[in-house]
């Protein structure tokens, strides 16, 4: 088990290195000059050259690459080309907001989706099943910015239950929760829709297995059949989807953060893209990769808790 984790972390380092390399070169291949973005197209050639020198852009690409790798190893991801503050500082400033949002959305999504999926499967081809399938399809089809705006209109503007701008600056727990509620629900809707559909199909599959028939033959009540015998077996595909989707969820937070005007990685990355903030983009990619790799490792470890047949070698 420990060996498995260490080996997987070793792979994670290799993955990170590959991503760093890829990101570094891809960003430099993209058209557009960051100095022009910063200084505007009226800037003099002299000031552009000065800025290029200050940013290290005048050096050969391979030297920039080595400096970048060396810095990344020391935890120095450079300074933002735009704000001049260290990238790592900027990222760490907003990371908790995004993690908070994603985590709450994830939990909400599972809490809503899992029972809904089970309910649909148990009542296959009856009204609860149709309702769940239609609602979850809606959840999948509504883009985050549309559902976000609808949520804002209804709950913030008409009902005035929640703030329109979720600044994330609330000091008391209740304030924070009020800030978080709408963005988290918005993000959780899609998550719940995915979880519902996977749970439903996985549960249907499990309910047709021989051991479920065995459980019924020994006189197990219906709820024991579902909760004791079927649930754990149906969780594996659900965990896979949740794990895969967590990466997407962090990406999806971009739209939600913009609609609700909430600080976070999403807003940071869009800003960095618009302003060609190379160093910032590099740092963001590293963070994203790290999160995805860790989530995958976590997913694999969860399998072992669910299924005794899984062995870590």
């Amino acid at each position: 088990m420990l060996g498995f984790v260490l080996r997987r972390l070793g792979f994670a380092v290799i993955t990170l290195f590959a991503v760093l390399t890829l990101v570094f070169f891809v960003i430099r291949i993209l058209p557009g000059d960051p100095t022009l973005v910063i200084l505007g197209d009226q800037a003099s050639a002299q000031s552009i050259a000065l800025l290029r020198e200050r940013m290290g852009l005048d050096q050969p690409v391979w030297l920039q690459y080595l400096q970048f790798l060396g810095g990344a190893l020391r935890g120095d991801w450079g300074t933002s080309l735009v704000s001049g503050r260290p990238v790592i500082q900027e990222v760490l400033n907003v990371l908790p907001h995004t993690l908070e949002l994603t985590f709450v959305a994830l939990v909400l999504g599972v809490v809503l989706g899992l029972p809904a999926g089970i309910w649909a499967a148990v009542n296959r081809n009856r009204i609860p099943d149709y309702v769940t399938r239609i609602v979850s399809l809606l959840g999948l089809s509504a883009p985050a910015f549309v559902s976000g705006i609808v949520l804002l209109l209804v709950f913030s503007i008409m009902l005035r239950w929640f703030p329109v701008i979720s600044g994330g600056q609330g000091t008391t727990l209740l304030d924070r929760a009020r800030d978080l509620a709408l963005p988290a629900i918005n993000l959780a809707l899609i998550m719940a829709a995915y979880v519902t559909r996977v749970t439903r199909s996985s549960m249907l599959e499990v309910l047709s297995q021989d051991y479920v028939r065995t459980a019924m033959a020994k006189g197990a009540p219906a709820r024991a059949v579902v909760w004791r015998h079927a649930l754990r077996n149906c969780l594996i595909p659900v965990v896979t989807v949740v794990g895969l989707y967590l990466g997407i969820l962090i990406g999806n937070s971009v739209l939600t953060e913009i609609v609700f005007n909430r600080p976070g990685l999403g807003k940071l990355i869009v800003g960095a893209l618009n302003q060609r903030d190379y160093t910032m983009l590099q740092g963001m990619m590293v963070i994203y990769t790290l999160i995805v790799v860790l989530v995958n490792l976590l997913t694999d470890l969860v399998y072992g808790f669910i299924d005794p047949r899984v062995q870590y070698k």
């Binding site: 051991y211 006189g219 070698k313």
Partner: protein
């Protein structure tokens, strides 16, 4: 009439939509008795069993009467039905590998049954489960209580299932093909165990099976079903001595005779070949030619698989799947490779074609060295050795027409094209007794037996000299099995084919083979002419194997003695440096060799 029956079924009818699958079945079953419900797939026997437990899907329409003691099972619903299941009747199923929940500890799965039907405390339930485990002879019960099903062998899992079904002391035990998926020696152990438990508890047993040999072993009464109807029913002796129905006779013919064919070394058909089908002049002499060089000779074949483990996936051991196997196969001859699962018989077949690479040894096919052949030479050899596999469902691509499946090997080896190809496909289909028009249809439109015929046609497409048939008829219903076996024999006569017939099914082996080689733990322990190996088995393993095969004679059932000790299979996994001893063989009769020692 005897006292109140345990189970009384009257005019039971089950329909799915408009199709009636059980059409008016009636029978009674008394305490301490065993009733065998016999039939092939689609006979309605399993549906009958499931309807007693009310385990059929909701869309099934069940009418008639099912009385379990005082209880009218068809009138129950909800909580009352739940309480009847497991308490009034326990059930064991065919697939021990999938019938236990993989994520729950086996002990808890049995204790659960007690929990639903008794007031036992947790620790009392555990003690009771341990006692049940001892009774079904699960060794080291206290430790195994907390293990998960995947650490149990098939036979052990079936013992767990039996413990579970009997936990609440039901008066009826329904066993739905409980030994079909098990090896024959394990089957014998389970049947003995069931008989013994029945004697102790007086439980009535409803035993569902397709195997008349098993019926002869255990049943008091027999009920033969086909297409949802009862064909005949009666006491087991009467059914076996004077079967009233042709179909019952067919089922009986599918049971091994073991020794009744001692007078000849030639294969024996299930049914004689109709005279008009016998070609006027066979292409080649159908009898194997004893003196000529063998078509295939295998010498000291070794195939091992690496076992990896530990932190870095180190090579920690080897599965000695095939260990020093030698045999020869002449033209027009059938050698049956028999043994139980995991004995290495399939790996031997695959190693010959180099579908897995052997580690050592020599394989010569028609004068060529197969293990050294490369490129075109290997392709030519593979063209002349064809394989037929067990699963006719998995062996055909569902999206490929039958004609294109049969034509594919000829495409690959550039043998024919265009209209010539179509003609060949049509003649191959006729050859396996299928309508040439089926070439444009898809595999799902055919039955299992027809699909296996298609696989045979595909194997014949390249005009092979040797066919390796890996459990080729094992998955088929008994009557279909007889037809396909007869077809294989006809093809051998007409085309002079040699067969390496890999099988665990003694009923077919004793008919199809000229010679038999018995494999155990990767080695051939005994080989010789069929009549000699079956008639006077000399190796202890062969004796044990043959003693476990059920024969179609209810009179002989108690005559055979077996020790009731449950034996876990010995493992063929050895450490890395392990050097097995060379096997030494002793000739006990003409061409009949037995391995010395272990």
């Amino acid at each position: 009439m005897s006292p109140e029956p345990v189970l009384l079924v009257e005019d039971l009818r089950v329909a799915f939509g408009r199709t009636e699958v059980v059409k008016g079945v009636s029978f009674r079953l008394d305490a301490g008795k065993t009733l065998a419900l016999v039939g092939e797939s689609g006979s309605g026997k399993s549906v009958t069993a499931l309807s007693i437990m009310r385990l059929l899907p909701e869309r099934a329409r069940v009418t008639g009467a099912i009385r379990l003691g005082e209880t009218d099972m068809l009138a129950l619903s909800g909580e009352a039905l739940r309480k009847a299941r497991g308490k009034k009747a326990g059930m064991i199923f065919q697939e021990p590998m999938t019938s236990l929940n993989p994520v729950l500890r086996v002990g808890e799965q049995v204790a659960e049954a007690l929990h639903y039907h008794t007031d036992l405390s947790k620790s009392a339930a555990r003690a009771e489960v341990l006692r049940l485990f001892e009774r079904v002879r699960i060794p080291d019960a206290a430790r195994r209580y907390d293990e998960y099903p995947h650490t149990f062998s098939g036979g052990m899992r079936q013992r767990v299932m039996i413990a579970m079904a009997l936990a609440c002391k039901p008066r009826l035990l329904i066993a739905d093909e409980p030994t079909t998926a098990l090896d024959v020696t394990i089957q014998a152990e389970i049947l003995d165990l069931l008989a013994e438990l029945q004697r102790e508890t007086g439980t009535a047993v409803l035993f569902i099976t397709h195997d008349m040999g098993v019926v002869a072993e255990i049943a008091d009464d027999v009920l033969v079903m086909r297409h949802g109807d009862i064909l005949e029913q009666g006491p087991v002796r009467k059914i076996f001595s004077a079967p009233a129905h042709d179909y019952t006779r067919d089922l009986l013919a599918a049971v091994p005779r073991l020794g009744d064919m001692a007078e000849t070394d030639r294969p024996v058909r299930f049914r004689p070949r109709p005279a008009e089908q016998i070609p006027a002049s066979p292409r080649r002499d159908p009898a194997p030619t004893p003196d000529a060089e063998p078509l295939l000779s295998v010498d000291g074949l070794v195939t091992r698989f690496k076992v990896r483990g530990g932190m870095l996936g180190r090579h920690t051991g080897n599965v000695h799947a095939v260990e020093g196997v030698s045999f020869a196969l002449r033209r027009g001859e059938t050698l049956a490779l028999v043994g139980e699962s995991g004995c290495g018989k399939s790996t031997t077949g695959r190693s010959i074609l180099r579908l897995v690479e052997p580690e050592a040894g020599a394989v010569r096919f028609d004068g060529q060295d197969v293990l050294k052949a490369e490129g075109q030479a290997l392709r030519t050899i593979r063209q002349r050795i064809q394989m037929i596999f067990q699963d006719p469902y998995g062996s055909l691509d569902p999206r490929q027409t039958v004609g294109s499946a049969i034509a594919e090997p000829m495409h690959v080896h550039k043998i024919a094209r265009g209209s010539e190809m179509e003609d060949r496909v049509a003649s191959l289909l006729r050859r396996v007794e299928l309508d040439p028009g089926s070439a444009t249809r898809f595999p799902h439109e055919f039955s299992g037996g027809q699909r296996q015929r298609i696989c045979i046609a595909r194997a014949l497409a390249l005009d092979p000299a040797l066919v390796i048939a890996d459990e080729a008829v094992s998955a088929l219903d008994v009557s279909i099995k007889a037809q396909v076996t007869d077809l294989l024999l006809d093809l051998q006569d007409d085309l002079g084919l040699s067969y390496l017939f890999i099988s665990h099914d003694m009923a077919v082996v004793e008919r199809i083979s000229h010679r038999i080689a018995v494999m155990h733990l990767g080695r051939i322990v005994e080989t010789g002419p069929r009549s000699a190996v079956i008639g006077s088995p000399s190796h202890p393993y062969t004796q044990k194997l043959l003693a476990a095969v059920p024969v179609a004679d209810p009179e002989k059932r108690r005559a055979r003695k077996r020790d009731g000790v449950a034996e876990e299979l010995r493992s063929p996994i050895r450490s890395v440096g392990f050097k097995p001893e060379d096997a030494v063989y002793r000739e006990v009769g003409p061409g009949h060799f037995v391995m010395e020692g272990a």
